[in-house]
């Protein structure tokens, strides 16, 4: 992560894809897109396209994994072979296993798992097209899919990354900024509880820079939270309008 050869931010403070330093990528979220899953959601964030599905609570298979005092949350983050420029082998890689764990642990504290002992909640996050920041986008849709499935939750989870690119702190890194930039700080956040559920850092930042990046990421999370709530409500509003027309 030394001096990058490509210039990622121009002299006016505009990034490669035309965004300002603290600007998010355009986001489109749809809830309830799959009829066979108990809950589902789909997000397009810039070039990212991610689908999440939830099954459960249901009986645990294999049985010996069941926990006597709470539900088991299982998460599978998976990238489709066609999600990146060079074909990715479909078998789960080391990185995908890590992100499965990270997304699971980001969501776990918001779910009332203790209400449903001996069951499992199975979560599938499928990346159809990746452009950086998929763990954050994955956590956003996963949380929405859980809410869509009617699983009781303390709060929704929003996630957003910030980082350092060309010596400046920027919000919502895309693939090239993540790879060529100096640092990347993904944050998952429960806005109403005001709790951070995931915090990672890749690269080098000073303490001041880190604080600035963290605050920027939380600010980004709050903005995405508004979109997330709208998406969740809109599934229902469509029904309501239909009823009023009659």
């Amino acid at each position: 992560m030394n001096q990058s050869t490509i210039k990622l931010i121009d002299e006016n403070g505009i990034r490669k894809d035309g965004r300002k330093l603290d600007e998010l990528r355009p986001i489109k979220i749809t809830v309830g897109v799959l009829s066979n899953a108990d809950g589902s959601a789909y997000i397009e964030q810039g070039k990212n396209k991610i689908l999440a599905a939830v099954y459960g609570p249901r009986e645990v298979h294999p049985r010996h994994l069941a926990l006597p005092d709470r539900a088991l949350l299982r998460c599978r983050y998976h990238m489709a072979p066609f999600s990146v420029e060079e074909r990715k082998p479909p078998a789960p890689s080391r990185r995908e296993l890590e992100l499965s764990k990270v997304i699971r642990e980001a969501l776990e504290p918001t779910i009332f798992l203790e209400q449903y002992p001996r069951t499992s909640i199975d979560l599938f996050v499928e990346v159809l097209q990746a452009d950086g920041g998929t763990r954050c986008a994955g956590a956003i849709v996963a949380s929405l899919a859980l809410a869509d499935a009617g699983i009781p939750m303390r709060d929704l989870v929003v996630a957003c990354a910030s980082g350092k690119v060309d010596g400046q702190i920027v919000l919502d890194l895309n693939d090239i900024e993540d790879k060529e930039g100096e640092a990347d700080v993904p944050v998952a956040f429960a806005p109403n509880l005001n709790t951070i559920t995931l915090l990672q850092m890749d690269g080098l930042l000073t303490i001041e820079e880190f604080e600035k990046a963290l605050n920027l990421a939380i600010e980004g999370c709050r903005r995405i939270h508004a979109l997330q709530r709208e998406a969740l409500k809109s599934k229902y509003v469509a029904v309501k309008e239909e009823a009023e027309v009659e």
């Binding site: 108990d38 809950g39 459960g56 609570p57 249901r58 009986e59 006597p68 918001t110 009332f112 449903y116 002992p117 001996r118 069951t119 809410a147 869509d148 499935a149 009617g150 699983i151 009781p152 939750m153 303390r154 709060d155 929704l156 429960a190 806005p191 109403n192 509880l193 709530r229 969740l232 409500k233 229902y236 509003v237 029904v239 309501k240 239909e242 009823a243 009023e244 009659e246």
Partner: protein, 230 residues
């Protein structure tokens, strides 16, 4: 003691609903003196109670609930029944037969895999799977009719205030309707057209459960459909 939404407003999980001297009812939780929503749904403030009527949920067994189940497995001493819940239920052979002997009685001749039964939940707690009983008049194998599946949170709406909706449905369609608390509804009428009409009506109730004046609208719809068919 402020409240933060109006009655029947849509809330999402984690929304702060009320602060102060309120009690948290269904689909809400309390932390300190603040009440938050735990499911997507419509918020209701009734005196000092705050509740959310969820738009989508799953069935959690409750003792003495009437449920419709499907036999999933025939075991040596009873049946495993799928009751559309996270836990599968058990029906013991001794509940059906007075003097049950595993050597003599063939359980699959009473209820076989795939059979639908109407049963009551006898016991259930979080540590053990629910146990069913069919030892009450009207319970047992379902031999005729059609099953409609709706989300369990909409069941109270299908029944209506003091049974107003269900009584109207029975009267207008001429069908026998049995509502299982687990989200399955049995519609049994003499003619398939009547059953079809009742099913359409039940789906309409599920779709529009949150709107007011629904009983009248459903009545109107059924009458219109009737006219159209004549």
């Amino acid at each position: 003691m402020p409240i933060f939404y109006e009655n029947k407003q849509l809330v999402t999980p984690g929304d702060l609903l009320a602060e102060g001297d309120y009690s948290a009812d269904s689909n809400t939780y309390k932390e300190g003196n603040k009440i938050y929503a735990s499911r997507l749904g419509l918020v209701y403030y009734e005196e000092k109670r705050v509740s959310v009527v969820a738009l989508n949920a799953f069935y959690i067994p409750l003792t003495s609930d009437l449920v419709i189940g499907k036999i999933a497995e025939v075991n040596l001493h009873g049946w495993t029944v799928d009751i559309n819940a996270p836990y599968s239920a058990l029906l013991q052979a001794s509940d059906v037969l007075n003097k049950f002997k595993p050597q003599r009685d063939d359980l699959s001749r009473i209820f076989d895999v795939g059979d639908l039964i109407l049963a009551k939940i006898m016991t259930y707690d979080r540590t053990r799977d629910p146990i069913l009983t069919v030892r009450e008049p009207g319970l047992g194998k379902i031999n005729r009719g059609q099953i409609v599946k709706i989300t369990p949170t909409k069941i109270p709406r299908v029944i209506g205030k003091k049974g107003s909706m269900i009584n109207m449905l029975k009267k207008e369609t001429g069908c026998k309707i049995v509502v299982g608390q687990n989200g399955l509804v049995l519609v049994d009428g003499g003619r398939p057209e009547d059953e079809g009409l009742a099913i359409v009506a039940i789906h309409k109730i599920e779709q529009e459960a949150h709107t007011s004046g629904l009983t009248d609208r459903v009545t109107e719809m059924i009458r219109k459909e009737r006219e159209a068919k004549k």
